[in-house]
Amino acid sequence: MASSVIMNETRRAKKFHLPDEIGIFVVLLLVAAVFCILSSSFRTYNNMLSLLLNGAVIAFLALGQTLVLLTGGIDLSTGSNIAMTGVLCAYLMNAGVPWIFASLLAVGAGGLIGLFNGLVIQYGGLPPFIVTFATMGVASSIPLIMTGSSSIMVADQGFSWIGQGTVFSVPVPVVLLIVFAVIVALILSWTRFGVQVYAVGGNRTAARLAGVSLAKVTVSVYVMSGLFAGVAGLIDTSRLMVGFPTAGTGNELFFSIAAAVVGGVSLFGGTGSVLGAMIGAVMIATVSNGLNVVNVNSYWQSLVIGLIILGAVGLDTFRRHRMGAPLPGILRRRVRSGDRQSAHADVV
């Protein structure tokens, strides 16, 4: 028995040295290659640009979603947060607020939604799925109430820089995305907070016993998710210079979770990276754009991406199973950790 344990160990150790990002990156290249072959319009510079621009909104949501998923939570409110922040920003600019301040206020409002999520999840002991499901409804209603469901045109031309401007001929949304993705990646790998995010997702109880503040970590990741959703809302509004009260209620949430999961971020918490999630976002954008370009009816998009999610989560589950934690065990631990979360809310 001892020898089989050792053999397992060696095999597992070898598996670990292969970064998960390599796999998804190769798949991305393959998918892109297939679309390049299928369609001459896919491989144009302009199409690549629009692919990345479309991807930027999804990627921003995926960035925040990654932080939340790493702690073992989920944020369903990010999609409708886009509409709320976008409309709020347009509304403020029309009320005479300069676009920079309007943008900052709107992003701040996105952060407030995140703060609310984090506080209720941590101190109310409610499951993240339920809390963010509820705020998804709340955040999607606010812009409809504010505008009576009509769109708000943006007059302030300076605002168009966010969605349409370029820096050294790279679109601003892509630049913003790279800057924030690098910042988050550095935070995750170089700071105490980063280790704590992974620790909370890996084993809440162990993290708490080691002196990690669950409250700080939990609330912070939801706030960041809200802030990034706010930035995505600005980009969305700025690209068309219209605040749509129904923006972000379509596929954005679905695609952003897909991006994170396809990029190797585990829905069970504790595993994944920003790089992976960003490759995942480009992957989802590529599939979505590629299907359009090769004239596949857009009704097929969600179906294909749904299947991709299923494949990615299946792979993650299989990997965890191989690592020695059978699925029922994982689920049980999740349920238990949910209990602990509420039980410890009053202890801590």
Partner: protein, 267 residues
């Protein structure tokens, strides 16, 4: 109240429990429990399921406050309101399977909660050097890389990492909850060696275990709980397996040479 036939020196024991009582609703988990844990020794806490072992160690690690009774730390009464309080004193508890984050590597686990920083970022080189040294001090040599995730370690290695983490945080008293449960023979031997090394280095160990072979192999002193009462405490030499089993199952033994407490504490 020094125990007869015990080798406790003049200095007060590291930890002393006096009349500790704890109830959960109508259930009496601990009744008037007295216990001395002398410094730098291995004290084994034995008892059947439901005897109150877990409640006792959770009280000592600050998770639950006792209803009555007191805890003395080096002779001074202390109040443990949270695990943090216990940690400040130098009490570290290693729970069976809750001690580590599987997804983090050995170094990250050992420093979780108190990572050294340099210029605001994690000081990885310092952490790696300290982790290597601590593991070497504990004679843990089977770990291939200190950068491998804990999920890839064997049960014994995981215990080693948990103990190293405790040593790293300058623990004076390490409470180990069933450290050898679910381990194979070789792995168990490894953990027992670890406990001996730990106590050789002056760390006090309170070992909670079902496994009497383990208890007799490493313990200097043995304490037996039965239905929430401390029924016997004494040097390991005053017990044998049958005596401990008698105490664990019935709360009394006719052949015991140490300090039997069931009689005078019965009310």
């Amino acid at each position: 109240m020094n125990v007869e036939g015990d080798s406790v020196s003049n200095e007060p024991p590291l930890v002393q429990l006096r009349g500790l009582t704890k109830s959960f609703g109508a259930v009496r988990a601990l009744t008037q429990v007295d216990l001395e844990v002398p410094a730098s020794q291995v004290t084994a806490l034995a008892g059947d399921n439901g005897a109150g072992k877990s409640v006792l160690i959770k009280t000592l690690s600050g998770l639950w406050a006792p209803d009555s009774g007191e805890i003395l730390w080096q002779g001074h009464p202390v109040h443990l309101h949270s695990p943090k309080d216990a940690e400040h004193l130098g009490i570290t508890t290693i729970y069976q399977d809750l001690a580590l984050c599987d997804n983090l590597d050995i170094v990250q686990n050992m420093f979780l909660g108190h990572e050294p920083l340099r210029l605001g970022a994690l000081d990885e080189p310092t952490m790696e050097i300290a982790a290597r040294k601590t593991l070497a001090d504990l004679k843990v040599t089977t770990v291939r890389s200190i950068r491998q995730p804990v999920a890839s370690l064997s049960g014994g290695q995981r215990q080693s990492v948990a103990v190293a983490k405790a040593v790293m945080s300058k623990a004076r008293l390490v409470i180990m909850d069933e450290p050898t449960a679910a381990l194979g023979v070789a792995q168990t031997g490894m953990v027992l060696d670890l406990i001996k090394t730990l106590s050789d280095q002056g760390v006090t160990v309170l070992l909670v275990s079902h496994n009497l072979n383990d208890v007799f192999e490493v313990a200097d002193r043995i304490a037996v709980l039965h239905l929430g009462r401390m029924v016997a405490v004494g040097p390991a030499s005053s017990f044998d397996t049958q005596v401990v089993v008698d105490f664990m199952t019935t709360g009394r033994s006719t052949r015991f040479s140490g300090d039997e407490r069931a009689a005078d504490l019965q009310n």
